[in-house]
C-alpha cells in the first residue's frame, strides 16, 4: 500500500536546493497525494543555515558603520558583557535583510495601500530592506547637517544617544521617512539579533542568553521543574552546540 504519488518535483528537493535562502520550511512546494503510509523521506529536514562571517550581504560599508555604531548604543557594552556590535547584531540584521525577511516574503503586499487606524496594522508598501535603505540614508543626512558634516559613527556616545532618543520620540524629523517607525524597526531587529539563536549571526557566544540566564536550546528540564528557587546550573547551548564542544578551525 506504500505509494506516494508526487505530481511534480518533490517539495523536499525543492527546499533543499533553496535552503540557503529560506528561513521558512513552508514556502510553496508542490501538491502531492499521500496514501498508505506516513510520507517520511530521509535527509529531508530543513535545519537553519548557519550565518558565516564574511562581507556584508545587504549593507553598504557606510550603512554598516552606522548600524554597528547604533546597535552598540541600543545595547551598550558594560561589565555584564558585550554590546550590540560585538554580539553581532549588525551582522544579524544584514543577513536578515538579505534574506526572505528583508524582501517581505510571505506578507500580503497587494494594493491598494491606504492609511488606516493604528488598530489596523502596518499599511505601507515598503519591505524591511527598503525601509532600512531609506531610513539609513535619511538618518545619515540628518546627522551630517546637524553635526557639521560628521557621520553617526564619529559622534560622541552621548550625541549618538541624543540622536537615537530623538528618533524614538519623534523629536527628530527625517526627510521622507517616519523616524519613530524606523527607530522601532531598528530596535526590534537589534534585540532579536541579541537574543536569537547564534546560528543567525547575532548573540555571539550566547552573550544575550548569558545576560539574562536563558539556557538556550537545552530542551529537557524534567529534573529541574520542581527544584524551586534554585539556579539552573548548566550554561546555555545553541542549536549548533557550544564552541567548547567543537574543535576550532
Amino acid at each position: 500500500m506504500a505509494n506516494i504519488v508526487v505530481r511534480s518535483l518533490s517539495r523536499r528537493s525543492f527546499l533543499a536546493s533553496t535552503a540557503a535562502l529560506i528561513v521558512a520550511g513552508s514556502t510553496p512546494g508542490f501538491a502531492r497525494t499521500i496514501v498508505g503510509r506516513m510520507p517520511w523521506e530521509p535527509g529531508s529536514a530543513t535545519p537553519p543555515v548557519q550565518v558565516r562571517p564574511g562581507p556584508w550581504m545587504f549593507f553598504t560599508a557606510d550603512e554598516a558603520a552606522l548600524v554597528e555604531a547604533a546597535v552598540d548604543r541600543l545595547i551598550p557594552p558594560d561589565d555584564r558583557g558585550p554590546g550590540g556590535k560585538d554580539a553581532g547584531c549588525a551582522v544579524y540584521i544584514d543577513r536578515q535583510l538579505a534574506g526572505p525577511y528583508g524582501g517581505a516574503a510571505g506578507l500580503y503586499m497587494r494594493p491598494p495601500f491606504m492609511p488606516g487606524a493604528a488598530t489596523q496594522g502596518y499599511q505601507l508598501p515598503g519591505s524591511p530592506a527598503a525601509r532600512y535603505r531609506a531610513g539609513l540614508l535619511a538618518l545619515a543626512d540628518h546627522v551630517r547637517t546637524a553635526f557639521a558634516g560628521k557621520t553617526f559613527r564619529e559622534l560622541a556616545p552621548a550625541d549618538q544617544d541624543k540622536v537615537l532618543g530623538g528618533l524614538e520620540t519623534g523629536a527628530i524629523v527625517l526627510k521622507d521617512v517616519n523616524g519613530a517607525e524606523f527607530f522601532a524597526l531598528l530596535l526590534q531587529n537589534t534585540q532579536e539579533g541579541f537574543f536569537a539563536d547564534p546560528v543567525y549571526g547575532g548573540n555571539r557566544d550566547m552573550a544575550g542568553w548569558k545576560l539574562v540566564g536563558f539556557p538556550g536550546s537545552r530542551y529537557d528540564y524534567r529534573d529541574w521543574v520542581d527544584q524551586h528557587d534554585k539556579a539552573y546550573p548548566l550554561p546555555p547551548v545553541s542549536i549548533m552546540g557550544r564552541s567548547d564542544w567543537t574543535v576550532r578551525e
Binding site: 506578507l107 488598530t119 537545552r218 539552573y232
Partner: protein, 587 residues
Amino acid sequence: MARKLPRKDVVIVGLGWTGSILAYELAKAGLDVVAIERGPWRDTATDFPPAYAQDELRYAIRLDLFLRPEQETLTFRNNASQSALPIRSFAGFLPGNGVGGAGVHWNGQTWRFLPTDFRLRSHLEERYGKNALPGDMTIQDWPVSYDELEPYYDRFEKLCGTSGKAGNLKGTVQPGGNPFEGWRSSDYPNPPLKQGLGAALFAEAAHKTGHTPFPQPASNMSEAYVNPLGLKLGQCTYCGFCERFGCGNYAKSSPQTCVLPALLRFPNFSAQTESEVTKINLDSTGKRATGVTYVDTSGEEWEQPADIVLVCAFSLFNVRLMLLSGIGQPYDGATGQGVVGRNYAYQTTSGVSLILKDKILNPFIATGAHGMMIDDYNGDNFDHSGLGFVGGGYMGAGQTGARPIQTRPVPAGTPKWGAQWKKATAETYQRAFSLSTHGSSYSYKDCYLDLDPTYKDRLGRPLMRMTFDFHDNELKMSAYLTARLAEIGRAMDPAEMTASPRKGPYNVNIYQTTHNTGGTVMGADPANSVVNRYCQSWDVHNVFVPGGASVFPQNHGYNPTDTVGALAYWTADAIKDRYLKNPGPLV
C-alpha cells in the same frame, strides 16, 4: 477548466484537528475519504525535530509553521464606519497552515465549557431577568447540552492523553480539581504536570485569599501515554518551546501524534496536500453539494466529486468558504438579517505582571499548558447582580516559556534601550512572571464577518472582512476579573506589580489568542444559525461544519479546542449512525 477526479464518499476540506478526527472515524467506518489540505505535509522528524525545534526566531517570530498572509488573509476594521484594511502580516491571531493545522503549534490548554454556558441566554435571563442583557448582545443557547457532549469531551481528552485532575467525578466534587467544572464520567487520562515556583506561589496566594486553585488541564503529557488509537506519546520535558512550535518530543497532542499515523493505515483514505479548496460545488437545485474544486500549487484546478463535504478549514476559513460557495444567507451587519458571518466573537484576556523580591523562578522551564488556575470568576460561577456585566473567565499562573526575544520583563518606567535597559533586563528576568485572565467574548449585532469589497487573494477571490471591537460588557468584565487577580497577586508580596485590564479599541496587532469563533453558528432555528445541532448545513444537507469554532454561538471563558474536538466526534457519530442510513436533513 477543472480536471475531474474519481468520486469519493467524503471530501474533507483541511486536515487539522477536526479534519483528522472526522477522516479517522469515517475511514474506519469503511467510507472512501479524501482530505484536501492547502498547506504542506508536516511531521516531527522533518519539520520540528529536537535538533532545531527550539528556534525562537524561526518559529515564534518569523512564524514558520503558520499561514502566510500572501496565501490568505483577512481585512479588518473596528466598526462599519471605517474602511477595512488587509492584515498584511499576522500578529493578533495566528492561523495554522499545513497538515495538523493549528493543532501542530497550539499550547494544549484543554478546557470544557460549563454546563450553563450551553444554555447561556436562558440561564442569564432566568437568573437576572429579561432586561439584564444589552439590547445588541446576540448570545444564544447552544442546540446541544453539556450532558449530551460529555461522552465526546471524554473521547477527545482520551485521544489527546490530557494531563489534569478531575474536580467533579459524576457529580461528586474532588479535592485538588476544579470544583466548578461540569461533571466528568472519568478522570483525566494522565495525572497533572509538575508545577514551577511561580505557579506554586500563585496557588498558595489563591488559597489564602479564599479561592480554589487547581492544575490547568494540559495536552502536554505528564507521562508517556498510549491513546485509544494505539499511538504512543512521549513525556513532556518542560522544554519551554511549545505554543507556536511543533513538539520535537512527541509529547504534545496533535493530529501528528494522536491521529495521522493510525489514519494513514486505512487504504480508503488519502490526503492531497498543498491544494487549496476554492469552492464547494452545488447541483442545480442549490440544495445538494456535488463536491469541491481545488487549486494545487502549480495553479492547476481540480474537481473532486463527493457525496459528503466536511468543512474543517479552521473557524475563520470555514466561514469564508461558505460565503464564497454561496451556502446560507450572508449576514448583513446593517440590518442584522442573514446568518453566515453572524456572531463573530473572540476572547477577552488581560494580565497582571509581577516582579518578585528575590526569587529564582527559572521561567524558561515551561510547557504550553501547565500552571495553576482558579475558575471562581468564570461564566456564571459568581453572582453578577449589580456588577454591570455578564461573563467571566479562568485566571491564574501559566508558564508557557520565557524565550528572550519575546519575554524580557523590566520594571515600569525602564527605558526601552541603552545602559539602564540592559541592567534592568539582566536583573529582572529570573524574578518576573505574569498572571493572566482568559475571559469570554459574547456576540453582538455589529461584530461579524463578510466578504471584502476591495481586497482580493492571489486567486482573485475577495478576502473575508472582519468587523470587530470590544464592547462595554467585556471591558467591564475584564476590569473586574483583573482586579480580583491583582488581589491575589498582591498576596504574593511582589516588589512590583502592574495590572493591565483589557482596554479598547481592539487592535489586530496585539496577540491575545487564536480563538476566533462564530460565523457558521450552530442553533435550533435556521433564522439565527447556519448549521443544526449536528453541525449540518440547514440549506445543503450533505455539507457539515463538524465542530470548528465557527459553530460557537459566542465564546466562553475558556480555550475552544476541547469543545471543538468533542463536537467533531459528536458530528462523526451523527453522520455514521444517522446520516448514512438516511441522507437528508437530520433535524
